[in-house]
């Protein structure tokens, strides 16, 4: 049984796993990008009340392995609160929290490090506040944050595999189940690897291309 045979025979299981992976990813990406950007902007504007506390949380989170955080929220936290939450939502929440604080860190850093001289130039040439934001700040900040944000989202897509360990039926768990039935690990995990390569490599490539193209443009000399 080759890779193609396995894919055609077990495609409903693969598709089901793929759907769960994509659902997880969309939740993580949307929450992370929307809430993380908002938190980053707020943290840059209100440094004492929001910026420093959110950086402290991001710092603590960066010191805890994702798997430990996920397991802690799935087992001890739920036991302490005496609740049982669907592993899908536990996984989505865990990874979304990580994404929110990581995105906020990137956005806040870009805003705080924005070269003041471009704002000075906007001021002395009489640009309005709206023009300064729309024509100068947003395009430059967008170029600055886009590559790391894309790379972060790819990394988060990879980490959705961890949710299989708390019984979320995403694509890796689907692959494990199929393998348990047919025992064709080489073909099955190769197919899984090819799937991730097809999704992640173009995004990684785009991120690197954007980084190469735009970050050098920020230099005056």
């Amino acid at each position: 049984m080759g890779v193609w045979d396995i894919l055609t025979t077990y495609y409903p299981a693969f598709l089901s796993g793929l759907r769960v992976t994509l659902q997880l990813s969309v939740i993580i990406w949307v929450c992370g990008l929307v809430l993380g950007s908002a938190l980053g902007v707020a943290g840059s504007r209100y440094k004492l009340s929001i910026g420093i506390p959110s950086r402290a949380v991001a710092f603590v989170l960066s010191g805890v392995p994702i798997l430990v955080f996920l397991f802690w929220l799935h087992y001890p936290a739920q036991a302490m609160m005496d609740v049982v939450i669907d592993p899908f939502y536990t996984g989505a929440f865990t990874l979304a929290v990580i994404n929110i604080f990581a995105v906020a860190d990137i956005v806040r850093g870009a805003l705080n490090d924005f070269p003041q001289q471009y704002l000075t130039a906007a001021k002395v040439t009489g640009l309005t506040r709206r023009q300064t934001i729309l024509d100068i700040q947003l395009p430059l900040i967008f170029r600055e944050v886009l590559p790391p944000l894309l790379l972060l989202q790819v990394m988060l897509l990879h980490t959705t595999l961890f949710t299989s360990l708390i019984s979320v039926d995403e694509i890796f768990r689907a692959a494990q189940r199929i393998n348990a039935q047919v025992y064709r690990p080489v073909e099955i995990y190769t197919a899984l690897g090819v799937f991730f390569l097809m999704v992640c490599l173009p995004v990684n490539g785009l991120a690197l291309w954007l980084k190469h193209k735009y970050t050098r443009d920020l230099s005056e000399h």
Binding site: Q117, T120, A121, K123, V124, G126, L127, I136, L140
Partner: protein
């Protein structure tokens, strides 16, 4: 007239400006010279209303600004771009071509911007690189674009901070020659420079700053016959180098 009276400015416990009085008339060139740390750039940024002085007042064509002033308080009406600046680092927006850098602010205040830019391209010989991005242009080319960006705004006063410091002799001569055209357009120019020869030939007023004060001020004759020992010493040092 752009006038300053009694400007003072300190950073932490270091006083950088100590009661500066200065008048810059339309259609004149004022050259500010002096050693590093004399307060020239601080004065320029204060005159440009970018960094507020701690005390004193600035008057721009009859509009008065008294200091100290609340930092968040906006200027009504805005002094820019009637008053504009070009800095040593040019601050060209890196995501826009040189043409876009010039046209973006120009559209706000110059209805003839599309026509005027062609004149500036000719004046500053920019035809070959006007559609390049800043990082694709040489320092001299970027310098000319930065000046053009300021000029298309039809300012009454332009403050220039060592704009030729990174240029070679030919590029410096090319830029400084253009300043004569600005004078003809009745623009008041404040120029921080180490080009003593230019100040002698082209300036209407020369100010020598040292230690946060203007120690000598007058027509370019003070560069030929300095009254203070400090200016004499400074000029002899500069002439050794340039």
């Amino acid at each position: 007239m752009l006038s300053a009276r009694g400007l003072t400015k300190s950073f932490d416990d270091q006083t950088v400006l100590r009661g500066i009085d200065l008048d810059i008339a339309p259609g004149t060139i004022t050259c500010a010279i002096g050693p590093s740390g004399a307060g020239k750039t601080t004065l320029l940024r204060a005159l440009g209303l970018l960094d507020y002085p701690d005390g004193g007042s600035i008057s721009l064509d009859g509009m008065g600004y008294d200091f100290p002033r609340e930092p968040a308080l906006p200027f009504m009406p805005s002094p820019w771009p009637t008053l504009t600046c070009v800095f040593q680092s040019l601050f060209l927006w890196p995501h826009l071509t040189l043409r876009e850098n010039i046209m973006l602010p120009a559209r706000n205040c110059n209805p003839q911007a599309e026509k005027d830019i062609e004149g500036l391209i000719a004046l500053f010989e920019m035809a070959g690189f006007i559609d390049h991005y800043p990082n694709q242009a040489s320092i001299g080319q970027r310098q000319r674009a930065a000046l053009a960006r300021a000029l298309i705004l039809n300012p009454s006063y332009i403050l220039l901070d060592e704009i030729t410091s990174a240029l070679d002799v030919e590029q410096t001569a090319r830029i400084l020659t253009k300043l004569g055209h600005l004078k003809e357009r009745n623009i008041g120019i404040f120029l921080i420079t180490h080009q003593i020869g230019f100040a002698r030939r082209m300036a209407d007023q020369v100010v020598f700053m040292d230690g946060g004060v203007i120690t000598e001020k007058g027509d370019p004759d003070i560069l030929f016959h300095p009254k203070t020992a400090r200016l004499q010493q400074f000029l002899s040092t500069v002439e050794m180098v340039y």
